[in-house]
């Protein structure tokens, strides 16, 4: 039953063909069996999950229950979960028991989803390979010598290996789409403000957005429908109605105008990966869409803009870890400054320290205008490029990443090489746009991802395009041999 999609499982639960307890037991067994090889989880909540599954079965027996009643589910360990350890992949929060649920968590709980555990991730979501996690790297289910991508590597690996039908994830510069591409699963980062950030541990507040990693666009739509919507507890949450993403999935694509991102094919794109993406574009043409090239002239600057804006926001957000109110505290501090400095130095890993220091530098006296304000100006140019493109086309498409998954350790020595992994994904975050990664084939035996970017609040259009593509192809149904 683990091969079934979330949509099928939800229907089977509703029809009482399977119980939630059976499903939860089956997935927990898969999680346990894979943990040593994949390290996808930081915490497994078996007891709570079984108790919740029993309650879900009672609700279903009584003909009640939400849209995801009894469905096994997982949360990236960046979402606060009341009474359950929430580490954000860091030693700093190794023992942090969240006193409350993130809005995303409480909404999915209300919809009936059963949480099986918390998923591994790069420390504070800063990384593109999952190697910065204090709890050790996650491995790629397609080849365990390779990284799963990051920062939502645990979510992507778990769905790829069918340890869970779907999981939450977050995306600040590509952290949903890049691991989804590396692991051959479907991921969506909604429009900034579409999903509440309340209870999501902050990294870069003008870029962070919660989304879903699932086996198909239809599954992602089913989950996103429950997560999305206004939340008064997040001052950047947008008060706009959420369309029924499921109702629009099957719309025909005839007449859809697709722009192919010229700059994404110009340099550094793996040749076999490019063939996968070109073949995917041909499928859309067969479905009646028109495809034309579109240029975003300022997009090559998106990575340097990101590495000013994101570290600046990170430096401010992570100032809260002071060893006083929660989180790691050093032993025997002799004064307050010593307490701050040693608690933070012991609690944070090297990549987090690099980002905090980069951010501190670009915000410091004399550099603020040259770096931070300059980056925010270029950010507007990039957003304007996208806005212009969406005056001409309905969706933009291109590769999600320049290459398929790489080996563990291959890029840890040089931060810039690691940062360039996100060269195609960062633009959507800077402009606040919704974007997806959809499996579109295999490059040298490894999954390749087609990226689809839409105008603000066009999640339904993205999911519709991805779903129609997935009706024509079966890349999203492939499961790594070791977990098939």
């Amino acid at each position: 039953m683990y091969r079934q999609t979330l949509t099928q499982l939800a229907a089977d639960l509703r029809a009482r063909r399977v119980s939630s307890v059976e499903l939860v037991r089956a997935f927990l067994a898969r999680i346990e069996a894979s943990q040593r090889d994949l390290n996808a989880f930081v915490t497994v909540t078996a007891e709570q999950a079984l108790a919740q599954a029993e309650a879900a079965d009672r609700a279903l027996a009584a003909g009640r229950g939400g849209a995801l009643e009894g469905v096994p589910f997982g949360h990236k360990d960046l979402f606060c979960t009341a009474g359950v350890r929430t580490t954000c992949g860091s030693r700093m929060l190794k023992q942090f028991i969240s006193p409350y649920d993130a809005t995303v968590v409480s909404r999915l709980k209300a919809a009936g989803a059963v949480m099986l555990g918390k998923l591994n991730m790069d420390e504070f979501a800063m990384g593109s390979s999952n190697e910065t996690s204090y709890f050790g790297p996650v491995r790629n289910p397609w080849n365990r010598a390779l990284v799963p991508g990051g920062s939502s590597g645990g979510s992507a690996a778990a769905v790829a290996a069918r340890l869970l039908p779907a999981a939450t994830a977050t995306d600040t510069g590509g952290s949903i789409r890049q691991p989804a591409a590396f692991c051959g699963v479907t991921g969506i980062k909604p429009t900034y403000g579409r999903v509440s950030r309340y209870g999501m541990i902050a990294f870069a507040s003008s870029l962070d957005q919660a989304g879903v990693i699932a086996a198909s666009a239809e599954d992602a739509a089913r989950v996103l429908r429950e997560m999305a919507g206004f939340d008064p507890r997040d001052s950047t949450s947008v008060d706009a109605p959420v369309p029924d993403y499921l109702a629009e999935l099957d719309q025909p694509l005839a007449g859809l105008k697709i722009g192919v991102l010229k700059e994404f094919f110009d340099t550094g794109l793996d040749a076999a990966y490019e063939r996968c993406v070109r073949e995917a574009l041909a499928v859309f043409e067969r479905l009646g869409a028109s495809v034309r090239e579109v240029s975003l002239p300022n997009i090559p600057l998106s990575v340097p803009v990101y590495y000013v804006v994101a570290p600046a926001e990170c430096s401010s957000n992570l100032a809260r870890y002071d060893g006083v109110r929660f989180g790691h505290r050093c032993a025997e501090a002799h004064d307050l400054e010593d307490l701050y400095k040693r608690s933070r130095s012991e609690g944070f890993g090297a990549e987090v320290k690099r980002r905090i220091m980069t951010g501190t530098y670009v915000l410091s006296a004399g550099y603020y205008d040259a770096y931070y304000l300059k980056a925010q100006r270029v950010r507007r140019l990039i957003a304007a490029d996208f806005a212009r493109a969406f005056g001409e086309v309905d969706l933009l498409m291109g590769p999600t990443t320049p290459t398929p998954a790489f080996e563990l350790g291959a890029k840890v020595a040089d931060p810039i090489t690691m940062y360039l992994n996100d060269i195609y994904t960062i633009g959507a975050n800077l402009a606040g746009l919704p974007a997806m990664s959809v499996p579109c084939g295999f490059a040298a035996g490894l999954p390749a991802g087609l990226q689809i970017i839409g105008p603000h609040f066009a999640e339904a259009r993205l999911l519709n395009a991805a779903h129609r593509y997935q009706r024509e192809t079966d890349w999203h149904l492939r499961i790594p041999e070791a977990y098939a």
Binding site: T236, D335, K341, K374, L381
Partner: protein, 96 residues
């Protein structure tokens, strides 16, 4: 632009981080290459372009009414504190 050892130490101090002397050269090298990388932005023509402060066009931060909306959860929150006494967070002595 290469950062000096003193600059790196100063940034670390501003960020309230204590670096081991042995790890400073690595941070110095990493941060220098990051600063060089983001220096690319200099070349962008941005005259007359306003800095973008919110990712959605036309939106600004919403303010909530200034009324009490949350219950007092001090005890619950202090369960995560490293050291508390009588409902207060304990830190090393600040004033002699």
């Amino acid at each position: 632009m290469a950062l000096t050892r003193e600059q790196v130490e100063n940034i670390a101090h501003l960020a309230r981080l204590e670096l081991e002397p042995a790890e400073i050269p690595r941070f110095q090298q990493n941060l220098s290459s990051i600063v060089e990388f983001i220096g690319e932005l200099e070349r962008a023509e941005t005259a007359g372009i306003a800095p973008m402060a919110h990712p959605l066009p036309g939106l600004t931060q919403r303010l909530r009414p200034d009324v009490v909306s949350e219950p007092d959860e001090r005890e619950l929150y202090q369960k995560n504190a490293p050291q508390v006494a009588a409902g207060l967070y304990l830190v090393p002595k600040v004033i002699e």
